[in-house]
């Protein structure tokens, strides 16, 4: 850390001398040197952090009134909606917050893909991000079970049943996960315990993610290393105000849904209490799982002695695990897609492929959707395992600018991390 600041306020100085918490905040939030050319796609990291805090806060207030029991869960959520002061606000913020959290994090991930933020020296930062995504998915999946509606129950049944595909021990694992022979009260109780725990694990992962970030600092739209203070500006006031403005726009969208279309992302079936005797005609997961659901269902045939279900499950988990290896699959030394004429085209194709997968996951697997889902699944893996490694060798990148300041403020030095008008 840089030399500790001297503080005017004697109490602050006394504390800081013993526990340099103020120096740390100053170094990481105020003076923190940041590339001067970050665009608005860089807002989504701080938005994701704020979403996590909002989820934890609204979640704790919900937990004060929620009852994790199959006989009361559905009714307790309706009590929150009807009788608890501002309960409807907490519940709708939590429900829509989960969707917004995923939108923000998906944009954040695609930002990283476009600008090559996963490349050296930020591989661990990227890997920590993939773990955060996995933990978020587990949290959201278990949270969706808590209101104990029809989709809660049947979604939980379908997804936990996937583990039965594991050879030999599959069925025992499923029984162990359920705590019985069907999704029932023990399942609901343990999902609630994990749903409360996991966000705090995410919090710890985010801490490590930011620690790793602050070692090598942010990547930037040019993808080139900073060459010196003339390429940087202090985080405060420049990025604090930019993040604050971004937060304002984001809250307008998020709260717009909360107040005026709170059930837009939801399924009507989840307002029907769970009933193990009645299967809904078409069980769909939350929208943010649809691409993975499509990959799961893409395999409709056995390969030799391996059953289709096992391959589907492996591919579904594999579609996220492959992200962990991305820094070593894409060997191109150039980070930003701006200077990679071929990669840039494939980036957009990959994005479209993810939407195709989402669409395939949202439709019943009939007619054209079967082969569409299969082709899109094949392309998903080909992007990482074939296209990226090949591009690393075949593509001729464009000339990189000599420095950020040369590219962004060619007219003059402007200001820098050392202060205004150097």
């Amino acid at each position: 850390m840089e030399a500790n600041k001297t503080w005017k306020n004697p109490i602050v100085a006394w504390i800081d001398n013993r526990l340099p918490i103020f120096s740390m905040m100053n170094a990481d939030l105020v003076d923190y040197p940041t590339p001067k050319n970050l665009n608005y796609w860089w807002n989504f990291g701080s938005l994701a952090g704020i979403m996590l805090v909002i989820m934890i806060l609204t979640g704790i207030f919900l937990a004060m009134h929620y009852t994790a029991h199959v006989g009361y869960a559905f009714e307790s959520v309706e009590r929150i909606m009807r009788d608890v002061n501002y309960g409807w606000l907490m519940r709708y913020m939590h429900m829509n917050g989960a969707s917004m959290f995923f939108i923000v994090v998906y944009i954040h991930i695609f930002r990283g893909l476009y600008y090559g933020s996963y490349k050296p020296p930020r591989e661990l930062l990227w890997i920590l991000g993939v773990f955060i995504l996995l933990a978020m998915m587990a949290t959201a999946f278990m949270g969706y079970v808590l209101p104990w509606g029809q989709m809660s129950f049947w979604g939980a049944t379908v997804i936990t049943n996937l583990f039965s595909a594991i050879p030999l021990v599959g069925q025992s694992i499923v029984t162990w996960l359920w705590g019985g022979f069907a999704v029932d009260n023990p399942t609901l109780n343990r999902f609630y315990a994990f749903h409360y725990l996991l966000p705090f694990i995410i919090f710890a992962l985010v801490f490590l993610h930011l620690w790793a970030l602050h070692v090598h600092k942010s990547n930037n739209p040019l993808g080139i290393d900073v060459k010196g203070p003339q390429d940087m500006i202090p985080f405060t006031p420049y990025y604090t105000i930019k993040d604050a403005f971004g937060l304002g726009v984001f809250l307008i969208v998020y709260l717009g849904f909360v107040f005026f279309a709170p059930n837009f992302f939801g399924e009507p079936d989840n307002y029907i209490k769970a009933n193990p005797m009645v299967t809904p005609p078409h069980i769909v997961p939350e929208w943010y799982f649809l691409p993975f659901y499509a990959i799961l269902r893409a395999i409709t045939f056995d390969i030799w002695f391996i059953p289709a279900k096992l391959i589907g499950v492996t591919m579904m988990f594999g579609s996220i695990i492959v992200l962990l290896f991305l820094p070593w699959l894409d060997r191109s030394p150039v980070r930003s897609a701006r200077f990679r004429p071929l990669y840039r085209q494939f980036f957009w194709l990959f994005l479209v492929d993810c939407f195709v997968l989402g669409a395939a996951g949202g439709h019943p697997p009939e007619g054209h959707w079967i082969w569409i889902g299969q082709v899109a699944t094949a392309y998903y893996f080909a992007h990482f395992l074939i296209i990226l490694p090949l591009l690393s060798y075949l593509e001729k990148p464009r000339q990189l600018p000599s420095s950020i300041s040369a590219a962004v403020t060619p007219g003059g030095v402007g200001i820098s991390a050392k202060g205004v008008a150097e």
């Binding site: 606000l89 304002g248 726009v249 709260l255 005026f260 957009w348």
Partner: protein, 259 residues
């Protein structure tokens, strides 16, 4: 392709795919799209028309409540559609609830109070099925939120019966033909027809009037906090829009020396 065109093309394609998922969901649930009704409660400034909701309560009491319960709604909540506390007490007192127990440990029944939930017509689902040819009349507390198409759909079901099914359709015994119910065969006999209820405010009880009123009441019952939500929302969003405009101006000012 230029990068911008490329990105725009990708975005357009992606959005149309996303739309197809939402389209697909709706399509799977309803065979025939319900006609749109101009509801008092739709839109960001929409509120429940009190007179209509109260007439809807009359329809529920006189017709639907012989088959359907509303377990999640308490009598006292009815002040939300403009009933006075005295009216609520009087309405509650017309029902009996089981209570426990006398000092001697005997269960007894007492008149319902304002704090009680709507009393159900049947003691349990088996009894409800037995009385309805095997079909289970669902609880109506959340029905507006629990069906794709919401208020429009319920209005359509209540008004979409046809006495003679189209040629080629044979109804199963005890079933009725309904244009909007998925599969078209519904176990609920047509509950409403012109003049089946008498409104205390003298409004003419046409079929459409009754359906509109009862759906307004059911929509209120599904989310009694809707008006508070929209009212708060308008204030919060106005505040946020002004705040964000100021933040934008400040951002421009602070960044002016970087560019």
């Amino acid at each position: 392709m230029k990068p911008v065109t490329c990105a725009l093309a990708a975005l357009a394609l992606s959005l149309s795919l996303a739309a197809s998922v939402w389209g697909g969901r709706a399509e799977a649930a309803e065979a025939v799209a319900p006609p749109e009704v101009d509801w008092s409660f739709s839109g960001i400034f929409g509120t429940f028309n009190r007179a209509s909701a109260q007439r809807g309560l009359e329809v529920y009491k006189q017709v639907c409540s012989s088959c359907h319960g509303m377990d999640l709604v308490s009598y006292r909540a009815l002040t939300g559609i403009g009933l006075s506390p005295e009216q609520v007490d009087a309405l509650a007192a017309t029902h009996e609830v089981n209570a426990c127990c006398t000092d001697a440990g005997e269960p007894f029944t007492r008149p319902a109070k304002a704090a009680d939930r709507f009393v159900s017509p049947f003691p349990n689902p088996q009894a409800a099925r037995t009385a309805n040819n095997g079909a289970l009349p669902p609880d109506l507390s959340l029905i507006e939120k629990a069906r794709e198409g919401g208020a429009d759909y319920i209005h359509a079901v209540l008004t979409g019966y046809e006495e003679t099914p189209p040629a080629g359709v044979t109804l199963m015994p005890g079933m009725y033909y309904n244009k909007y119910f998925p599969g078209h065969q519904i176990g609920m006999p047509p509950p409403l027809s012109d003049g089946i209820v008498t409104y205390s405010d003298g409004t003419e009880a046409t079929l459409d009037q009754q359906a509109t009123d009862v759906v307004t009441f059911l929509t209120w019952a599904a989310e009694p906090t809707m008006e508070a939500r929209k009212e708060t929302g308008v204030k919060v969003l106005l505040f946020l829009i002004v705040l964000t405009a100021f933040l934008y101006a400040l951002k421009r000012k602070i960044w002016s020396d970087v560019h």
